[in-house]
Each structure stands twice: as structure tokens, then as C-alpha cells.
């Protein structure tokens, strides 16, 4: 393969490109990268991309190809051209995310206590009563320090109008942050000179921040809290991440069978006896964490965990029940919730959303299925979704039927023209659609990881960025503004 990987002649084809403006000039903060790539001798970039893929194989950041006897394993695709976010734009995104997560936490607390926002008619009561993500056992719960959602990964997209929109709030067990850290590590090895020259904000302190967030939640009387990461086990697709985060924080990675409840405390089984656990970063869904409280057939959880939690003798992050606020129907009300709880205008707008449970919205949706994206209220990973313009008549028919049968379970949004970033292909650079998932930690205060996971739809023209559906990822560079710490110092490491 001897494709010419330079940006000369690169065409953004009328889409909003994150690296170049409409006239083809590098955007704020992108000039250095563009010059560097254009000066590379032919073939060098391909070599570096290959080296990165070999490194991923060696590090075992792979998933097995199901049904392949010879043990072939695939890596999650990674593209070397980063997405760049200018300092001023990032400041606005960061402020918007902090505002949003603050309001969402207040909403969750309200839902499980006084329900003022419902009594005052901000969120219709019938929508909440039909929400499958509402957890009755959480009613009246007081999570440690009053925070419900400690770790959030909010999905953002940029539309053709240049504006950043919030697409989804992931308030349960958002994954992907390990790829942010690994991608950065690989990029620093691949372009050390470029890193030294660009002022890119570091992401390397995420595990430390996460650890601080978790220890902040420990019961007050505990001096040296013992934190663990709770995983469903090696067959979970995010297992690598669970293991990575535990390793980076220097805490135990446990499975449900390692934990036991006894005399009102949670213990883990050690070779020399039992040790008390104070904080659990759980990467198991609510439904599975305690068979005595939630699904009784769960083999993954810890019987009796919720009763210890209710007594404040162990902390869970995130708190159970947070899913009620990332329901895709509730999503439509978040801007109103921000105004209600904070008395502020939302900084980051929502994507306009049609709620199929409302008769007029439903009529519009059913009449315009070919133009809209329809999503199930409680699905993730790009499943249960109809992308109108890319769908067949039959698929549209099938979704129309589903919407009529279970209107509460569906929302629809206009098909967005996701922005693009140049991406390596066999024939040179081509634009591919991206989204962005920044990670927010809510402990003593709210902290946003600069950048986040840029997911890229590697198939030409595709809008679906999920890794299960042909997506890959890119490093995200937030350029340091005045007074921001930059990663140039890390680059030397």
C-alpha cells in the first residue's frame, strides 16, 4: 500500500470538518499537526499505524472473534489522526457538562425523595411511572455525600450547523475511558516531537482523580478506605477496562463471588481471611448487584449488599437508580430540569427530540420515519435503533409497529450531519463521522477529563460509531489555554 497520506487535496465534502474550516484552512490549534503530517515521508504514517496495531496486540487489548477456532483476535481499531478541540470551545463544553451533571444529580435525588419537579409539572408523572429504569428500592435512599452519579460519560456530537449538542447522558456504568488513556499513550510514543510542541492537556491523571472521587464517598469513620472495582468477569466486553482501572488505581478487582456480607458489612475473601470493603466502584448494572433486592436470578452480585449500603457502611459508585435520568425520554426534559433546579439557561443544547408517547409527536414520527433516527428508551450500544435515511421500507414498517405497540419506549430525533475528522484509509485521508464522550467525575467537586473518547464510524458514510458496529476511536487533543496545565511535560516521559 503506497497511498499518499498528506492533506493536500483533502476534501471535506461539505461536512463540518473538525480539522479544517470550510475554506480548507487548518482550524485553531490544528496547524502544527497538519504541517507535521504533510512533511512525513511517504509510507511513514502507515508504518506508525501498523506499529500501533502491533502494540495493541501485544498489550492484549483485543477481543476474540466469536466462533473462530484458530484463536484469531481483533483489536479495537484506532486511527492516528487525532480530533482537536480548541481551548475556548473546551471551556464552554466543560462548563456545560458541569451544569448538566449538577442538575441531573438534583433531579435523581428529587425523583427518589420529594418529586418536586414532577409535582411542579416539569416532567410528566405518567412518563416517570412508565419508566422501566425507575428503581422502587431506591426510594428514600440517601447516598453518601448526597451524590448519586459520580462517574458520567456524556455523548456529544457536532451538527452541520457547527453547534455541539448533547446526544445522550450515560449515568449508569459508562465505559471507554481506558481507551482514552491507552490512545494517548500510543500517540505519545508515535508523535513525541509533535506532543512536545503542541500544548495538549493531559489525561494521565484520570485514575488518580477517580480514586480520590471514590475515597471521598467512604463512610466518615474510615481512615484508610478500601476501594474495589466490581466486575461481572472476563466475559464482559468492558473487562479490559475494569482490570485497567483497578490496576491504575492500585485497588483490587473483584467479582461478586469474592464479596460477602456479614454482620452488616461487606468483606472480600482473601488468602488470609476476610477484609472489609468500604467503597465499591461497581461495573455491574443495578439489576444484578444484589439478588436480594433486585433480580433474584443474578449470579453476578452480592446478596445483602443493598442493606449494607442503606446503612451507610459501604459506598457504591454510581448509586443504584441513576438510570432513571438517562432514559432517552427523560433526556428530552433535561434543559427544563436545568432551568428548574439551577435557574440557569442550559449551556449545551439538546438535540430536538420527539417523544412517541405524546400523540402529536408520534403522528409526526410515524409520518417521517425516513428522515428521523428512532431510538429505544433503554438501549445502548447502537442497538434498537433505526437510522431513517439508511433504512429499508420493511425496517421502517417494523419500527412503526413497535412505536404503536410501546410508544413510551421510543423517541425520535432528526438525522444529524455528524461532523467529520480525516481518517486513514487505503486510498489516503477521507472524512469519517465522529462523536465525543467526555468523562465527568463528581466527588468533592466536579471535574471533567479534558477531551474524552472520540469514536469514529470507520465505514464510509456510516453514522454509527459504536465499536460493536464497525466503530473505532481516535485520540482527542484539547489545546491548553492560558493557565491550563499541558501534557508537553508528560510527552518527555
Amino acid at each position: 500500500m503506497s497511498a499518499n497520506h498528506t492533506f493536500f487535496g483533502y476534501d471535506s465534502e461539505g461536512f463540518h470538518d473538525e480539522l479544517f474550516d470550510a475554506e480548507g484552512r487548518p482550524r485553531d490549534g490544528s496547524q502544527l499537526l497538519v504541517d507535521c503530517i504533510n512533511k512525513l515521508p511517504l509510507g511513514v504514517l502507515t508504518e506508525r499505524q501498523d506499529a500501533i496495531e502491533r502494540a495493541l496486540h501485544r498489550m492484549g487489548i483485543t477481543f476474540a472473534v466469536y466462533g473462530d477456532e484458530s484463536g484469531t483476535e481483533k483489536i479495537f481499531p484506532f486511527d492516528v489522526i487525532p480530533r482537536i478541540v480548541a481551548a475556548a470551545e473546551w471551556q464552554r463544553i466543560e462548563a456545560g457538562l458541569k451544569q448538566r451533571i449538577k442538575a441531573l444529580n438534583m433531579f435523581i435525588n428529587d425523583v427518589y425523595h420529594d418529586q418536586n419537579s414532577i409535582n411542579d409539572g416539569i416532567v410528566p408523572r405518567e412518563l416517570l411511572s412508565k419508566a422501566t429504569s425507575y428503581r422502587e428500592p431506591c426510594h428514600g435512599l440517601f447516598p453518601p455525600k448526597g451524590i448519586w452519579c459520580h462517574i458520567t460519560g456524556t455523548d456529544l456530537i457536532r451538527h452541520g450547523d457547527g453547534e455541539i449538542y448533547v446526544l445522550e447522558d450515560n449515568l449508569r456504568c459508562p465505559s471507554g475511558v481506558s481507551y482514552v488513556l491507552q490512545n494517548r499513550l500510543l500517540m505519545k510514543r508515535t508523535f513525541p516531537q509533535l506532543f512536545a510542541a503542541s500544548h495538549i492537556r493531559p489525561v494521565i491523571d484520570y485514575p488518580t482523580r477517580l480514586y480520590e472521587t471514590l475515597t471521598y464517598l467512604a463512610p466518615d469513620h474510615v481512615h484508610e478506605p478500601r476501594v474495589v472495582v466490581l466486575t461481572p468477569g472476563i466475559y464482559n466486553s468492558a473487562y479490559y477496562e475494569h482490570s485497567f482501572l483497578a490496576q491504575q488505581m492500585g485497588v483490587e478487582l473483584v467479582e461478586g463471588r469474592d464479596l460477602v456480607v456479614k454482620d452488616g458489612f461487606v468483606y472480600m475473601r482473601m488468602t488470609d481471611g476476610f477484609q472489609r470493603v468500604d467503597v465499591i466502584y461497581r461495573r455491574i448494572d443495578d439489576d444484578f448487584i444484589d439478588p436480594e433486592t433486585f433480580r433474584s436470578d443474578s449470579m453476578l452480585g452480592v446478596p445483602g449488599l443493598m442493606s449494607v449500603y442503606r446503612q451507610g457502611r459501604v459506598a457504591l459508585a454510581n448509586a443504584p437508580g441513576t438510570g432513571v435520568a438517562d432514559d432517552k425520554v427523560i433526556y428530552a426534559f433535561v434543559p427544563d430540569l436545568i432551568r428548574y433546579f439551577l435557574n440557569e439557561e442550559p449551556i449545551l443544547p439538546n438535540v430536538p427530540t420527539y417523544i412517541c408517547d405524546r400523540e402529536e409527536d408520534r403522528k409526526y414520527v410515524l409520518a417521517n420515519l425516513g428522515k428521523l433516527v428512532v431510538k429505544a428508551a433503554n438501549e445502548a450500544g447502537g442497538y434498537g435503533m433505526l437510522v431513517g435515511p439508511h433504512s429499508t421500507r420493511e425496517q421502517q414498517k417494523e419500527f412503526a409497529q413497535k412505536i404503536i405497540e410501546q410508544p413510551r419506549n421510543y423517541i425520535a430525533q432528526p438525522t444529524l450531519a455528524l461532523s467529520r475528522v480525516p481518517t486513514m484509509t487505503h486510498g489516503g485521508f477521507e472524512g469519517r463521522h465522529v462523536d465525543l464522550r467526555p468523562y465527568i467525575l463528581y466527588g468533592k467537586d466536579i471535574w471533567v477529563l479534558p477531551g474524552g473518547l472520540t469514536r469514529v464510524a470507520l465505514r464510509k458514510g456510516s453514522l454509527v460509531v459504536n465499536s460493536s458496529q464497525g466503530g473505532g476511536s481516535k485520540d482527542t487533543w484539547v489545546i491548553a489555554g492560558d493557565g491550563d496545565e499541558s501534557a508537553s511535560a508528560e510527552a518527555a516521559l
Binding site: 501485544r58 498489550m59 472476563i234 478487582l253 475473601r269
Partner: protein
């Protein structure tokens, strides 16, 4: 440390050591055949019977040819003790504890596994088998070196050490057992001057040849047995392995050497004393094969005592003193 994690580390190390020793088995046989081409077929049969599942082999491969036996012991994923299966198990165990071992150690297991996987894709037809088995040994040695140099020598490392040493003691005794009988067809041969070439191959297979020479020069069966079973300083001898495993167990529990506080330490301590005070003449007079059988039974007993003591899920109600609130 977590019982589950300790168990996985222990088995990870055992499986790596198992793969290495299987490579040593095959390597010594390949070497012997170079010296003795006319009886080549006789060398491969006992390899199947002592290391593998005879019935399965006959059904799937029919003839114990070099190619068949190597493919069976090296690449057969359906045979649970092949090199590839062992590495796959080592890697699965490592995967469940990758946060507990060092990244370097994990990456080495990964590379090791992929190396053998890639060789398996050639369908077992290797251009130079000795090079391949040598590379397997080196990968394993590299892994052990990385583990020793990057993992804190606390409980986790000691569990890995116990796993690898018990496996090594078992496999050294097996190599000697199978060669003892193929190289000494009649009992009268015991005590006669041995074929230097053949026994030096056996010693080489466990990397013992040079160290043996430093100590004994001429080769006799008594000396070989003594060196591979009872030597106090050669790192693959049974006594050495048992002694260091015993030290690691005491490091884990914190109890004094020479005493015991659990059944694993008790059983291993007794085995160590048996070997430390054994006499090579009586071993051979009373029957070497019985001695090996007995040694392997004892090693298995230590393995199950370790399982019961450290890995098995105990009920938390058993003893309040087991709880630690740190």
C-alpha cells in the same frame, strides 16, 4: 490477597512451567533420535503414554510418528495438556488477574501465546523443530525473569513461585522416569557404564548437563538420580524446588520455617524432609519407579492442601478472627 486472584496467579505460573517442560520433553527426544536414528519410533511411544492421553491419541492420530506426536503434544487444542492448551490456560488465568501482575508480565504471556498460535497455523510442519522448542523455553524463561524483576515479591509472587516450582519438580521427575526405563531396558543395566551421549541428552533437556559435569564428571545412574532429585542447589532438582516452594509458603503465611500453621505447609515440610534425608542407593534398590510415583502423589497432595488452605471458599462465619478490618 484475594483468594481467587491467588489461585489464578498460581495456575498461571504452573501452566507456563508445564508448557516449558513439555517443550523440554520433546526436545530431548528429538536429540536422542539424532544419536540413535534406528530406534526412532521407540522414543515417541513412551512420550505419549507418560504425558498424554493414550486413547485419544490412538483414535485421532493412529501412528506414533514424530510428526503426529509433536502435533499432538504441541498444537492440539483438544488435548488439555498440549503446549498450546497450557498457554491458553495460562493466558486466561493471567487475564483474570492482569491488574494484579505487571503489564510487562502480561504482555510476555500474550506474546508467548501468539508465538505458539502462529506456529500452529503452519499445521505443525516446522522447518526446524529444535529451534521452535528452544524458543518456547526461552519465552517461558523470559516470563519468569520478567515476573521476578517486575512483580513485588509479596504474596502474589510467592503463589506464582509455588505454582511454578511444584510443576517443575513434578516434570523433572517425569522426564527422568520415562528416560530411566527407555534407556535402561533391563534391570541388569543399572550400575553399568552408561551411554554418555544419551544421558547427556537427558541432562541437557533439563539444562542440567553443565552443572552436573561440574559436580560429577562421569555419568552413572546413581549420580544422575541424585543430581536431578536430591541436589540442594540445582534449580530444577526436586529437592531444590520443594525447598523453595516451602520457603514461599512460609513467606505467605508468616510462620517460621521448620514449623507449620496449615496443612499445605505441613505436607510440603514432610516431603522436603523425605527428600533432604533420602539416600540414593536405597531409592534405586527399592525401585526408582515407586519412588517417583510416591513423589508425584506427595506433590499432588501438597497441591490439594494449597487449594484447601488458600483458594477454597470458606464460610465467613467459621471464625471471627479471620476477619480483618485493617
Amino acid at each position: 490477597m484475594l483468594s481467587r486472584v491467588a489461585e489464578s496467579i498460581y495456575w498461571m505460573a504452573r501452566y507456563i512451567e508445564r508448557a516449558e517442560n513439555l517443550a523440554r520433553f520433546i526436545d530431548v527426544t528429538l536429540n536422542l533420535i539424532l544419536d540413535q536414528p534406528h530406534s526412532a519410533h521407540l522414543q515417541w511411544v513412551p512420550l505419549v503414554s507418560t504425558t498424554g492421553d493414550h486413547e485419544y491419541f490412538n483414535k485421532k492420530y493412529h501412528q506414533p510418528t514424530e510428526e503426529n506426536v509433536i502435533r499432538f503434544l504441541t498444537f492440539d487444542r483438544n488435548y488439555s495438556s498440549s503446549i498450546l492448551s497450557s498457554l491458553s490456560m495460562a493466558r486466561e488465568n493471567a487475564r483474570t488477574v492482569r491488574e494484579a501482575i505487571s503489564s510487562e508480565a502480561w504482555e510476555q504471556i500474550n506474546e508467548f501465546y501468539h508465538f505458539v498460535c502462529n506456529a500452529a497455523r503452519t499445521d505443525g510442519k516446522m522447518s526446524t523443530p529444535p529451534d521452535f522448542f528452544n524458543a518456547v523455553k526461552q519465552h517461558s524463561q523470559l516470563f519468569n525473569g520478567i515476573l521476578d524483576a517486575t512483580l513485588s515479591h509479596s504474596a502474589g509472587w510467592h503463589f506464582a513461585n509455588v505454582g511454578r516450582l511444584l510443576e517443575r519438580a513434578d516434570k523433572t521427575s517425569r522426564i527422568l522416569d520415562v528416560k530411566y526405563y527407555t534407556l535402561l531396558p533391563t534391570l541388569e543395566d543399572v550400575g553399568t557404564t552408561l551411554d554418555d551421549l544419551q544421558w547427556s541428552s537427558v541432562l541437557r533437556s533439563v539444562s542440567a548437563f553443565e552443572m552436573y559435569r561440574k559436580q560429577y564428571h562421569g555419568i552413572t545412574i546413581h549420580r544422575v538420580v541424585s543430581f536431578l532429585m536430591l541436589d540442594r542447589s540445582f534449580p530444577r532438582s526436586a529437592l531444590f524446588c520443594v525447598d523453595r516452594a516451602d520457603q514461599s509458603l512460609h513467606q505467605i503465611s508468616g510462620s517460621q520455617l521448620g514449623a507449620y500453621c496449615n496443612s499445605a505447609e505441613q505436607r510440603l515440610g514432610r516431603l522436603k524432609a523425605d527428600l533432604a534425608f533420602a539416600d540414593v542407593n536405597s531409592i534405586i534398590n527399592q525401585g526408582f519407579h515407586e519412588f517417583i510415583d510416591n513423589l508425584q502423589d506427595n506433590l499432588n497432595g501438597v497441591g490439594s492442601a494449597i487449594h484447601d488452605t488458600f483458594f477454597a471458599m470458606r464460610s465467613p462465619g467459621a471464625s471471627q478472627s479471620q476477619f480483618q478490618t485493617r
